[in-house]
C-alpha cells in the first residue's frame, strides 16, 4: 500500500514532465522516417486491409456480424488492439531501453512506463477519431455511446499503465521476460476474440473464462460503445472484475518497482 502511494505521488508531482516527455516520445518514434507521423495511420491501414481480406472476405466470405458489416466490426476491435499491443510492448521495454539515458541523473523512474503508454495514447486518439468518422458515415449517429467510449478508453489506459509497471520492472531485471511478453502478446491477439466471434456452441465455462480476459473486456467495450450504444458491459459484474485486476496489477507493480528500482542500474 505504501508503494502504491509512493508511485502515485510521483505520477502526480511530475504530471507536467510526463506530458512533455510523452510528446517527445511520440516525436522520436517517427523522427527518422521520411513520411514521419503519417505512419501513425499508414501502419494500421496495412494491417487492417490484410485482416479484412483474409478474415472478412476470405474466411467469412463477406458475411456481416449481427447486422454490422464485418469491416466496421473488425476495425472497432482492431483499433483498441493496436493501442493495447503497442502499449504492452513499449511499456515492457520502457525502463530498460531508457535506463542508459536517465541513469546519469536522479530521475523518478516510475514515470517512465506512464509517459511511454501516454505516448501510445496520442496515436490511439487519432485512430479513434478516424474510427468514429467511419462508423458515423456507415452506421449513423444513433448507436454511438460517447460516454461509454471515453470510459473504455480511460479504463484501458489505466489498465495498460498498471500492467506496464509490472512488465517493465520484471523485464529490466530478467531480459527473458521481455521476449516472453512479446510472444504472449502475439498469442493474446488470437486468444482474444478480435478477429473471430465466440460461437454459441462454445462450452459455458470457456465462455466465462474468455469474458474475464481484461483485453476482451476492452475490445468488447469499444464495440458496444460504437456499434450498439448500450450500457450492458459497463453495468455488468465484469467491470468490477476488470478494476480488481487493475488494482492487483498496480499493487504488485508498485511493490516490485519500488523494491528493485534502486538496483535497476546494476542490471544494465
Amino acid at each position: 500500500m505504501k508503494s502504491i502511494k509512493v508511485v502515485l505521488q510521483e505520477q502526480f508531482q511530475n504530471i507536467y514532465m510526463i506530458g512533455r516527455l510523452s510528446a517527445y516520445e511520440l516525436k522520436k518514434s517517427y523522427a527518422d522516417n521520411v513520411l514521419g507521423s503519417f505512419w501513425i495511420i499508414l501502419n494500421p491501414l496495412f494491417q487492417i486491409s490484410v485482416y479484412w481480406i483474409v478474415f472478412g472476405l476470405g474466411i467469412r466470405g463477406g458475411r456481416d456480424v449481427a447486422g454490422t458489416p464485418f469491416f466496421i466490426w473488425l476495425i472497432c476491435g482492431l483499433v483498441p488492439w493496436f493501442f493495447i499491443s503497442a502499449a504492452i510492448l513499449q511499456g515492457s521495454n520502457s525502463v530498460y531501453a531508457r535506463l542508459n539515458s536517465v541513469s546519469k541523473m536522479n530521475f523518478p523512474l516510475s514515470v517512465i512506463p506512464t509517459y511511454v503508454v501516454m505516448a501510445q495514447m496520442y496515436t490511439h486518439l487519432i485512430l479513434v477519431a478516424i474510427l468514429l468518422i467511419i462508423v458515423m458515415i456507415s452506421q449513423g449517429f444513433s448507436h454511438i455511446n460517447i460516454i461509454s467510449l471515453v470510459y473504455f478508453m480511460l479504463s484501458s489506459f489505466c489498465f495498460l499503465i498498471s500492467l506496464s509497471f509490472v512488465t517493465s520492472t520484471l523485464s529490466t531485471m530478467v531480459r527473458d521476460i521481455h521476449l516472453l511478453i512479446q510472444t504472449a502478446t502475439r498469442m493474446l491477439f488470437y486468444i482474444t476474440p478480435i478477429l473471430w466471434i465466440p460461437s454459441e456452441n462454445m462450452p459455458e465455462l470457456l465462455k466465462q473464462a474468455f469474458s474475464l480476459n481484461p483485453f476482451y473486456y476492452i475490445v468488447e467495450g469499444y464495440r458496444e460503445a460504437l456499434l450498439t450504444g448500450g450500457w450492458g458491459l459497463l453495468a455488468s459484474p465484469y467491470t468490477l472484475a476488470f478494476w480488481f485486476i487493475i488494482f492487483v496489477l498496480l499493487l504488485f507493480g508498485s511493490i516490485i518497482h519500488v523494491k528493485f528500482r534502486k538496483q535497476f542500474v546494476d542490471y544494465l
Binding site: 507536467y16 517527445y24 536522479n106
Partner: protein
C-alpha cells in the same frame, strides 16, 4: 564542520555471475554466497562546501562507481552516502537523445532534472551560448561530433545549477579552448561555494584546478588530502607503475588486494 558530501564506510560490490540463470536464482531466493567484485570497499571521507576534489586513480579503481554513488544513480550495499543538496553528474554523452535536436535535448534533460517550464526557458539561451554549436542546435544530436556532444552535455549540466557537480572524464574530448572555458565556469562554481568532484586522468588539470585530491586504489582510499601532497605521491606512484613490467604490475595488484581482504577479515 559542516560537510556537503559524506561517505561513511561505503561498500559497493557487484556479484559476478557465470550464468544468467544464477541472476534469476538470486532474485528469487536472495542467496548471499557467490563471488563478488568489490568496486568500493569501506570508503569514508567528508567534503566541505567550496572544495574541488580531484578524484584520481588507475583504471578500474572505482572512480566511476564513486561518481555514480555521489549522483545518486546507484545505492551502496553497505554504509551510507549523505549528500546535502542536488548533485549532477556530467559524463560523456549522458542523457542526450540521438534522434532529437540539440534544442529538444536541452528541454528533455532539463525536464528530467526536475526543472520547471520557466527555468528551462531561462537556461536555454545560456546553454546555447555556452555550448557554441551554432546552427547545429536545430539538427539531431546524432549528426554532432563527439566534441559537440560533450560540449552540449556539459553546457546543460552546468546551467542547471546543481549544488554538487560531478565531472567524470567529460572534459577529455573537448579542445583546449573549451576546456579552459569549462575550467573558468567551474571556478565560478567554486566561488559560489559549490562542491565539485573532478574525475580525470590528466594530472596536470587536476593539479591546476582542484583544492583537494582523493586517490582511490583498488576500491579503497589510498590518500585523501591537500592536492599538492596527494598529487605528488600519485605522480610518483604512476612513474614507478609505468616502469614496472606486466608481471610486476600483476604482483602489485595481487598484493594490494590481499592486504585489503586481510583488512576485511580482521574487521569482520
Amino acid at each position: 564542520m559542516s560537510y556537503k558530501v559524506k561517505f561513511d564506510a561505503v561498500t559497493k560490490r557487484y556479484k559476478m555471475y557465470n550464468k544468467q540463470i544464477d541472476k534469476l536464482k538470486d532474485l528469487l531466493w536472495n542467496r548471499g554466497k557467490g563471488e563478488y567484485h568489490y568496486a568500493l570497499n569501506k570508503i569514508s571521507f567528508e567534503v566541505e562546501e567550496g572544495e574541488i576534489v580531484g578524484v584520481i586513480g588507475l583504471n578500474g579503481s572505482g572512480k566511476s562507481t564513486l561518481s555514480n554513488l555521489i549522483a545518486g544513480v546507484t545505492m551502496p550495499n553497505e554504509g551510507s552516502v549523505d549528500i546535502k543538496g542536488t548533485a549532477s553528474l556530467i559524463a560523456i554523452g549522458a542523457g542526450l537523445n540521438n534522434q532529437l535536436t540539440g534544442l529538444e535535448n536541452i528541454e528533455l534533460k532539463g525536464l528530467m532534472m526536475g526543472l520547471t517550464k520557466q527555468e528551462i526557458q531561462e537556461i536555454t539561451p545560456k546553454v546555447i551560448e555556452f555550448a557554441e554549436i551554432g546552427k547545429f542546435i536545430k539538427q539531431p544530436v546524432k549528426t554532432y561530433s563527439s566534441g559537440m556532444k560533450s560540449r552540449l552535455g556539459f553546457a546543460i549540466s552546468v546551467n542547471i545549477d546543481p549544488d554538487i557537480l560531478v565531472i567524470d572524464e567529460a572534459l577529455s574530448v573537448g579542445d583546449q579552448t573549451f576546456t579552459n572555458k569549462c575550467l573558468a565556469k567551474m571556478n565560478e562554481f567554486k566561488e559560489d561555494g559549490k562542491t565539485i568532484f573532478f574525475i580525470s586522468h590528466s594530472l596536470s588539470q587536476v593539479k591546476s584546478f582542484c583544492t583537494k585530491a582523493l586517490w582511490i586504489h583498488y576500491g579503497h582510499v589510498k590518500e585523501y588530502g591537500d592536492i599538492g601532497e596527494v598529487a605528488g605521491h600519485y605522480g610518483h606512484f604512476l612513474k614507478e607503475y609505468n616502469a614496472m613490467s606486466k608481471e610486476e604490475r600483476e604482483q602489485l595488484r595481487e598484493k594490494e588486494l590481499k592486504e585489503f581482504s586481510h583488512g576485511l577479515l580482521s574487521i569482520n
